[in-house]
């Protein structure tokens, strides 16, 4: 049996959302918790670093208004809640309506070599042009957030680092930053610099994979092989610092697990800086090849209104300046760097930004190694404080937000929102009206990390 909220309560909630929207707040996170017969929902909004919340409690089986009226970017976060808790949102029935209309649907996925992760697309097409789209997710769901509850910090960290091969390190790092913030832990400077280097290495790897996937979708096999060569170079370089190219099991509370000798880190840098030439060559070839420029420029256009509420390269390619590194606890402020933007967000500008971000990561690694201080890499700590916090960090594809609540060193509540949750609701808009053979290119230019989005 469904319970509708009274019109007055609905109106109040919608009024609050619009009040935040009109005062320039962005939607940061939506999380829910099940209580005795009730579901508690918390909406987090952010403006210039200030975080404000709307907390509501509704009976189970309630039907709530959808936040997509005011914030379309909240669609995926809301869907996650509807999938996990006995609650529904008003606009969620539209999925079912679309499915019924799909008489002659073309299905793509959930498993396909050109799809990096499982997801099912149902399209209706007329003359190879896409008419309607329904995207079905849920093939990645493992219930990781629930598994983390009741676990010690080290156990939860082990799981979170394995959420995604491309962003696992950033998720683990953001989680540790949250724990350290609650417990007021000061991480030694050398450890912070090492964390920064590894973080940038993880961005570099994610961006290289992103480029290699895009080249595969475009059918540029020789460039694909060049990029695989660069990934091999990355693996070779990282082997000087750790045995694990995915950078798992490096982080510990209060620092990093093991120190890396200066000699090893210099060797790593020498090898990794060889990439600059390779990346610049590929970029130059792409920029001067009209067929690539024309094809990519005509695809995946995102308007500036959408870009403003999005994150990562989707936003920056449309001229929205976003520097998430400045929010980080890592010593980025000691390094000199500039984040690039473009004027129109399409597949080409976003691809060019990937190249620039790779070069930026290489430059930051180089600077951090030059400034690497001596000293300890682990602080002795005692985590016994209770509390909660929201941490915002950069991941390879945009902004990552973690809500964490701790009690005596045990996780009592956790919610992770990665960049894909913000970008995913706009994918359908972008795919409508394009040719069916262009789908893989657009999806890969959106850089969605489904493993970390669905968890």
């Amino acid at each position: 049996m469904s319970i509708f909220l009274t019109e007055q309560k609905n109106g109040e909630l919608i009024g609050k959302w619009f009040a935040y929207k009109h005062t320039g707040y962005n939607l940061l996170l939506i999380k829910a918790n099940k209580k005795q017969g009730y579901v508690e929902i918390n909406y987090f909004f952010e403006k210039d670093g200030n975080i404000d919340t709307i907390d509501i409690e509704v009976p189970e089986h309630s039907i709530l208004p959808s936040i997509t009226i005011a914030y379309l970017e909240g669609a995926q976060m809301q869907k996650e809640i509807a999938d996990c808790y006995p609650i529904r949102f008003d606009l969620h029935k539209e999925d079912n309506v679309e499915k019924k209309d799909f008489h002659a649907a073309v299905e793509w996925g959930p498993f396909h070599p050109l799809l990096p992760e499982p997801v099912l697309f149902r399209f209706t097409i007329s003359d190879e042009i896409i008419d309607q789209i329904n995207v079905e997710t849920g093939y990645n769901y493992r219930g990781v957030e629930r598994l983390c509850i009741g676990k010690k910090v080290s156990e939860a960290l082990e799981m979170l680092e394995r959420l995604s091969s491309v962003n696992g390190f950033s998720i683990g790092l953001a989680f540790l930053h949250a724990v350290e913030k609650i417990n007021n832990v000061n991480v030694p400077e050398r450890a912070n610099f090492l964390r920064l280097i590894f973080n940038e290495l993880s961005f570099l790897k994610a961006n290289l994979y992103s480029l290699s996937h895009l080249t595969k979708c475009l059918g540029l096999l020789s460039d694909y092989s060049d990029l695989i060569g660069l990934i091999k170079l990355y693996n070779e370089a990282v082997a000087y610092a750790t045995e694990e190219p995915q950078l798992k099991d490096i982080l510990v509370l209060g620092g990093v697990k093991e120190d890396v000798s200066n000699e090893a880190i210099f060797q790593l840098n020498v090898i990794i800086q060889e990439m600059v030439q390779g990346l610049s060559d590929i970029r130059r070839t792409w920029e001067s090849t009209h067929s690539i420029v024309n094809r990519l420029s005509s695809l995946g256009k995102v308007d500036s209104k959408t870009a403003r509420v999005s994150t990562g390269r989707l936003a920056r390619a449309a001229g929205v300046y976003e520097n998430i590194r400045r929010l980080s606890k890592l010593p980025y402020s000691k390094l000199s760097y500039e984040v690039s933007c473009k004027e129109e967000s399409n597949c080409f500008t976003r691809t060019m930004l990937i190249f620039e971000d790779c070069l930026l990561s290489l430059s930051l690694i180089d600077q951090a190694i030059d400034m690497l201080p001596h000293g300890d890499v682990r602080a002795s700590i005692n985590i016994n404080r209770n509390g909660y916090t929201v941490v915002r960090e950069k991941e390879a594809y945009g902004e990552l937000v973690i809500y964490l609540s701790l009690e005596s060193g045990v996780v009592t509540d956790i919610k992770i929102r990665n960049s894909s949750s913000l970008k995913f609701p706009f994918l359908s808009q972008c795919l409508r009206g394009i040719q069916i053979n262009d789908i893989p290119v657009i999806i890969s230019s959106f850089e969605l990390d489904f493993s970390a989005m669905e968890k």
Partner: protein, 150 residues
């Protein structure tokens, strides 16, 4: 040589693999695609997007209720003899994510597994070797079954 033997001989020339990345970090699939792109001693393994063209099904990641049905459907569409390879800790044992009653399955719960590749993340070359050996095993078993029948 029977027609079936001839077909089998032709199919041993190359192996088409249908890769299923179930819920996981996709590290295993990345390692496999790296190994396939490198200059390797093992050649002749290709990826396919069509189960009807596949000889081997390689599954990585934890399987949930939703992906279970799809995986079983894909398995049915692959022509025999077919091998099933479980790659990575999630597919072999559920890794850190599998708990009693949380509706996550390992490959063995869903399909008959020919070979397992353990580790998080397993080595790419090891995966290629295992695919070759799994196909050999399947074909040897089939040949033995036919001999026993005769």
């Amino acid at each position: 040589m029977s027609f079936a033997d001839l077909l089998n001989k032709i199919r041993t020339r190359s192996i088409s693999v249908f890769v299923i990345q179930a819920g996981g970090c996709r590290g295993c699939v990345d390692a496999l695609s790296m190994a396939l792109s490198e200059q390797n001693t093992i050649k002749g393994i290709t990826l396919t997007g069509n189960p009807k063209h596949a000889d081997c099904l390689l599954i990585s990641g934890c399987i949930n209720e939703k992906s279970k049905e799809e995986i079983m459907q894909i398995y049915e569409k692959i022509p025999s003899p077919k091998a099933v390879v479980a790659a990575g800790a999630c597919a072999c044992s559920g890794s850190l994510f599998r708990r009693q009653g949380n509706q996550l399955y390992i490959v063995e719960d869903v399909l008959p597994v020919t070979s397992w590749i353990r580790g998080c993340t397993p080595d790419g070359t090891e995966m290629l070797e295992t695919i070759v050996r799994a196909m050999e095993n399947v074909k040897n078993k089939q040949a033995k079954g036919e001999r026993d029948k005769n």
